[in-house]
């Protein structure tokens, strides 16, 4: 028996049309591989779509491939994930199911599949890990399974879209996400087709080494951090039932979906000026062959002068696009300037006049201005705060301001 274990396609996830298109293409390629490999069925462990109601274009592409599976008599079994699940039941998954393109094996909202040689069930993923309690309390499944003998030759597969504690990545551990421990998983299955964590990993059941608990990873990176580190993956699983030895043998093969190459650039902007930063980035880009690649540019650090808007990212993007890149993404969330690094705590909740007063006072303390300059400063701040009146010409306005300043600063003789 051969089957595909796919999860976290997140079709429609990207807002960038190019990435959305790639995302769909990855799914199409995965299905093509399944057809080529002549799998018996395809498992989708949640988050086929990124939302409960995806766009028409995404739907069109997806249904096309599911239809192809159907035409090849390859069945597709799924559970909803945290993204494409709808508490009200208004998810496109139910439409696809009604169209006969796939089957929901959730024990509550769908129906587990039982044939001569397999039993497939699952639990839909929900937001905020609400599926975990459900998983922990699967009584009727256990009963159903217990009713059968363990020694039947059926492969028993459980689809879950959840967080497995043991496989939670280190960087997510601090987030206190709801998770379920291995031990808390229902015992009676041979293959635990997981989804939700975008990692490609499989571990052995602590008590049953032949049982496979696997995350195939996302079919296509669904976030920028994944773009920077991951490729798309799914599993092709071959299963053999060694009755003699009472052993169920799983050969899990990782299939990578590689579409466009990804080039990740990290640029340090410390002590750069807007112009020099732009040049630095362009220099780095020039070194790379950008054609048909996905470029992620992460710029971090503190500019020594100027504003963020002074950095000509538009020119950088245009350059990359001109070099034929497939898609250009930039991250400036950790880019700042010295001007922004003002000690705001000193001046928060102060009015404008109070801020003025404070700044002048600070400058006096730092001996950047003298006492007499402070008086002059305040006077000029007031005197220069003038607008051209209606009907006043530029020349008259200039004359008005000048005569006022000259008089106030007692410059008549010197003028």
């Amino acid at each position: 028996m051969k089957f595909a274990h796919i999860a976290d396609c997140h079709l429609g996830a990207w807002r960038q049309p190019e990435l959305q298109k790639l995302n769909l293409l990855a799914f199409e390629k995965a299905i093509d591989t399944c057809i080529e490999q002549n799998v018996d069925f395809v498992l989708i462990a949640g988050d086929l779509f990124d939302t409960a109601i995806p766009s028409i274009d995404i739907l069109k592409g997806t249904t096309n491939k599911l239809r192809q599976l159907k035409e090849k008599s390859i069945e597709c079994f799924f559970v909803a994930g945290s993204h494409d699940f709808s508490p009200s039941g208004k998810s496109i998954l139910s439409v696809l199911e009604k169209a006969g393109l796939c089957k929901n094996v959730d024990i509550n909202t769908g129906k587990p599949i039982e044939t001569d040689n397999m039993f497939i069930a699952g639990i839909d993923g929900k937001t905020r890990g609400l599926e975990i309690n459900e998983i922990k309390n699967i009584k009727n499944i256990k009963n159903q399974i217990n009713a059968k003998k363990d020694k039947d030759n059926k492969i028993k597969i459980l689809l879950l879209h959840t967080t497995l504690k043991e496989l939670l990545p280190a960087e997510l551990k601090s987030l206190n996400l709801s998770s379920i421990a291995l031990e808390e998983l229902p015992d009676n299955f041979d293959y635990y087709a997981l989804g939700h964590l975008h990692i490609t990993k499989q571990i052995m059941h602590p008590r049953h080494s032949s049982k496979v608990i696997a995350y195939p990873g996302s079919l296509f990176p669904t976030s920028f951090s994944e773009l920077e580190s991951n490729t798309g993956n799914f599993y092709l699983v071959e299963y053999e039932n060694d009755n003699e030895n009472d052993k169920k043998d799983f050969k899990v093969k990782e299939i990578q979906i590689k579409l466009q190459e990804i080039v990740n650039l990290n640029i340090n902007a410390d002590n750069e000026t807007p112009e020099s930063l732009k040049e630095k980035i362009l220099k780095e880009l020039e070194k790379k062959n950008l054609k048909d690649k996905i470029i992620t540019l992460r710029t971090e650090g503190t500019l020594k002068s100027g504003k963020l808007s002074d950095v000509n990212f538009k020119a950088i993007t245009e350059f990359a696009l001109k070099q034929g890149c497939y898609c250009f993404l930039q991250n400036t969330s950790k880019l700042t300037t010295k001007e922004l690094s003002i000690h705001l705590s000193d001046i928060s909740n102060l009015s404008i006049e109070q801020i003025e007063e404070k700044i002048l006072c600070d400058m006096k303390k730092e001996k950047k201005i003298k006492n007499k300059d402070e008086t002059k400063m305040k006077l000029l701040l007031r005197l220069f705060d003038k607008e051209k009146q209606e009907g006043e010409t530029n020349a008259t306005f200039a004359e008005r301001i000048t005569s006022k300043i000259v008089k106030s600063l007692k410059l008549e003789e010197k003028w």
């Binding site: 807002r15 960038q16 049309p17 976030s223 920028f224 951090s225 992620t296 992460r298 504003k307 963020l308 808007s309 993404l329 930039q330 991250n331 400036t332 969330s333 950790k334 300037t337 001007e339 922004l340 003002i342 705001l344 001046i347 928060s348 102060l350 009015s351 404008i352 801020i355 003025e356 700044i359 002048l360 400058m363 950047k368 201005i369 300059d373 400063m377 000029l380 701040l381 220069f384 705060d385 003038k386 607008e387 209606e390 306005f397 200039a398 301001i401 000048t402 300043i405 600063l409 410059l411 003789e413 010197k414 003028w415």
Partner: protein, 689 residues
């Protein structure tokens, strides 16, 4: 400020309606186009009047109506204020009419701008808004639905500029601009002063040169003075000598004059004598010639008388002959005439056939007879004629002879006359000659006398020659010394004049230099001021502005992010603004193009931006009377159902004393305390309270 009621008369889809607005959250509910937003626009009009670019009369006054009004009842600081503004349709536009204000029962009529000023003051809005668009109201209280997203899509500079005005931070831009204007004026003034100072080093150098020149002049004067004095002394000495010599010479002057006169006279006399002698010679020649002539001529008086008598006789003869001639000629003429007549008759008769007198036929024999008779007469006539002719000829000859004789006699008479004259002339010349000879002798005597005198004078003058030579030399010497003195005097004068000029120039230069030094000092001051303005003042103004903007930006950013996270479904979607208040949407830090947002997300972004602005401005301008009022016009355009649910949290969070919502979303009805329903039937809006 709380809005208590809005009364509309002929405003857009309203004929006559009054809408009571309670405190708390109020939903103006109704289908699209039912007249909900009209209430809000009318409120803004009632408060601030027509505003160019924001609110125009034509968009408010109901079509085909000539007049309309809005009456707004407000509560501000526990006072009830009623404002009424009218609109009138004129030929080409709709204009504001009268405005009245009623405060606690007292009504006053005001001009449109007076009312606006009053409202601005009462609401503690900056008075500069009197002539400008009221962006503070638009950004804190009410933004029409179509404008909500506009601020996000504007160019960063335009947006920042608008926000500066709203936050009243554009004063720093004004300050910087005014400072730049002043710096330009300062620069011009500096240029002017620098222009005045361009020649200062030159003037100083000139002064130094003049001082040096002055010293040299002084030295020259001191050298020249004694030399000139000596020269003058020398000239005086020579002059004295000359005087002495001249006195001496004067004495001999008379002698010289006399000599000169004598010489002149002597010369003249000699010349005269020579002329007379020449004249005498000429006369002698003439006398000799006359004498010769006279000896040839025979002159006698008697001869002359005889000739005269002959002439008379001949002339008488001539006269007689002429008379005869005339007679003969006359006869000849008559003969000729008669002859012509006869010849004519012959001719006529030859052709005549009838007698012209008797009218009888004329025979040829008669003709012949007549012709013959005539011919005979003709012959006779010819004969007579010839005889007469001959006589005439003889007479002519005689006449000729007599005439010649007369002529000859006249010639003779003339000769005699000439001879007489010549003789007279001869006598005269003789007399003349004698006279001249006498004169000649006299002159000769005079010449001799003069010659003697001349000799005497010459003798005397010889003695004075030496003295004159000496005098001449002395004069020459004087000339030389005078020339020298003149040169020295000129030099001295020149140097004196030069000294005077130099001193004058030095004085002028000093004055000029002092003036320029003052200008230089002023220029230094202006430069210092310029540097200070460029370096310190603008830097500090810039720093203050940045600090203020940073402060506002930080506050704004927190609020903006908070509101946005409340309103969007996608947890991964974050937003922030940069220093220019340009919003950016990010997913995991990566920027998302605004166009990739769904309609609901865009509305959420715009609403979050607006709410953040509202709160920042209200906290900054804490005295604004409208800070407890918020009007949201269709703030949920494109919201999903989940997003609409979030609006409940948003409305609770807002905590406005009066929150007026306009929405056609029925879900919102469950979030608010009061609902006012609007309906439109037959182009007229109605309100269900």
């Amino acid at each position: 400020m709380l809005i208590k009621s809005v009364k509309l008369h002929n405003i857009r889809s309203y004929l006559e309606s009054k809408i009571e607005l309670p405190k708390g959250s109020v939903l103006l509910s109704g289908d699209i186009g039912s007249g909900k937003s009209t209430v809000l626009l009318a409120t803004e009009f009632a408060l601030f009047g027509l505003q160019r670019g924001l609110l125009d009369g034509a968009s408010l006054l109901r079509s085909n109506k000539k007049e309309g009004f809005v009456e707004l009842e407000l509560e501000i600081n526990n006072k009830v204020i009623k404002i009424k503004r009218e609109l009138k349709r004129e030929k080409k536009s709709v204009v504001q009419g009268n405005a009245t204000i009623n405060i606690d029962g007292t009504t006053k009529e005001l001009a449109a701008t007076e009312l606006k000023q009053f409202i601005l003051n009462t609401l503690n809005y900056p008075s500069g808004l009197l002539t400008k668009r009221n962006l503070i109201y638009r950004f804190t209280v009410y933004t029409p639905q179509e404008e909500m997203k506009r601020i996000l899509l504007e160019k960063p500079e335009t947006r920042l500029d608008t926000l500066r005005k709203v936050f009243d931070v554009d004063k720093y831009k004004r300050i910087k601009d005014s400072c730049e204007i002043f710096l330009n004026q300062l620069k011009e003034k500096k240029k002017e002063k620098e222009g005045q100072l361009v020649d200062l080093p030159f003037k100083q150098e000139q002064l130094s040169k003049k001082e040096k020149e002055s010293k040299e002049n002084e030295k020259k004067i001191n050298e020249l003075k004694p030399k000139l004095a000596n020269a003058k002394k020398r000239v005086k000495q020579i002059k004295d000598l000359i005087l002495k010599q001249e006195n001496e010479i004067e004495k001999f002057k008379l002698v010289r004059e006399n000599l000169a006169k004598t010489e002149t006279k002597h010369g003249e006399k000699i010349k005269q004598l020579n002329e007379i002698n020449n004249e005498i010679k000429e006369l002698e020649k003439l006398i000799t010639s006359l004498k010769n002539e006279l000896s040839k001529l025979k002159y006698q008086d008697k001869e002359k008388e005889k000739i005269k008598k002959s002439i008379t006789e001949q002339e008488q003869l001539l006269k007689n002959l002429r008379a005869k001639e005339k007679l003969i000629e006359k006869e000849l003429s008559s003969f000729t005439t008669r002859k012509q007549i006869l010849e004519k008759d012959i001719h006529n008769i030859s052709d005549l056939k009838t007698c012209p007198v008797c009218k009888q036929e004329v025979t040829s024999e008669h003709r012949k007879k007549i012709t013959s008779e005539i011919n005979q007469e003709l012959v006779k006539l010819n004969k007579q004629f010839n005889e007469k002719n001959k006589s005439l000829q003889e007479l002519s000859d005689k006449l000729e002879t007599v005439e010649k004789q007369v002529q000859d006699l006249n010639e003779e008479e003339k000769i005699v006359e000439i001879a007489k004259i010549k003789f007279q002339n001869f006598n005269e010349k003789q007399k003349q000659k004698l006279k001249l000879i006498k004169t000649s002798k006299q002159i000769d005597e005079e010449i001799k006398t003069l010659a003697d005198k001349k000799n005497e004078y010459e003798k005397t003058l010889k003695e004075t020659k030496e003295l004159e030579l000496k005098h001449k030399k002395t004069r020459e010497q004087l000339e030389t010394e005078q020339e020298k003195e003149h040169v020295l005097a000129l030099d001295y004068k020149g140097i004196e004049k030069g000294k005077e000029n130099i001193l004058k120039e030095m004085s002028e230069l000093k004055i000029e230099i002092n003036k320029k030094l003052k200008v230089k000092s002023a220029l230094e001051e202006l430069k210092k001021l310029q540097n200070w303005l460029n370096k310190d003042f603008l830097f500090i103004a810039d720093t203050i502005e940045k600090q203020v903007m940073a402060n506002l930006n930080a506050e704004f950013n927190l609020l903006f992010q908070k509101w946005f996270e409340m309103l969007v479904e996608d947890e991964n979607l974050k937003t922030r603004t940069d220093f220019d208040f340009t919003p950016s949407i990010e997913q995991e830090g990566y920027e998302i193009n605004y166009n990739y947002l769904s309609g609901g997300e865009r509305t959420a972004l715009a609403l979050a931006y607006r709410l953040a602005l509202n709160q920042v401005i209200n906290s900054m301008l804490s005295k604004l009377a409208t800070r407890n009022l918020l009007i949201l016009d269709e703030p949920t355009d494109g919201f999903s159902s989940e997003q609409l649910d979030k609006m409940r949290d948003v409305l609770q969070e807002l905590k406005a004393e009066q929150l007026i919502l306009v929405s056609h979303e029925t879900k919102i009805e469950s979030f608010v305390e009061h609902i006012i329903r609007f309906q439109k039937q037959g182009h007229v809006s109605r309100v269900e309270m």
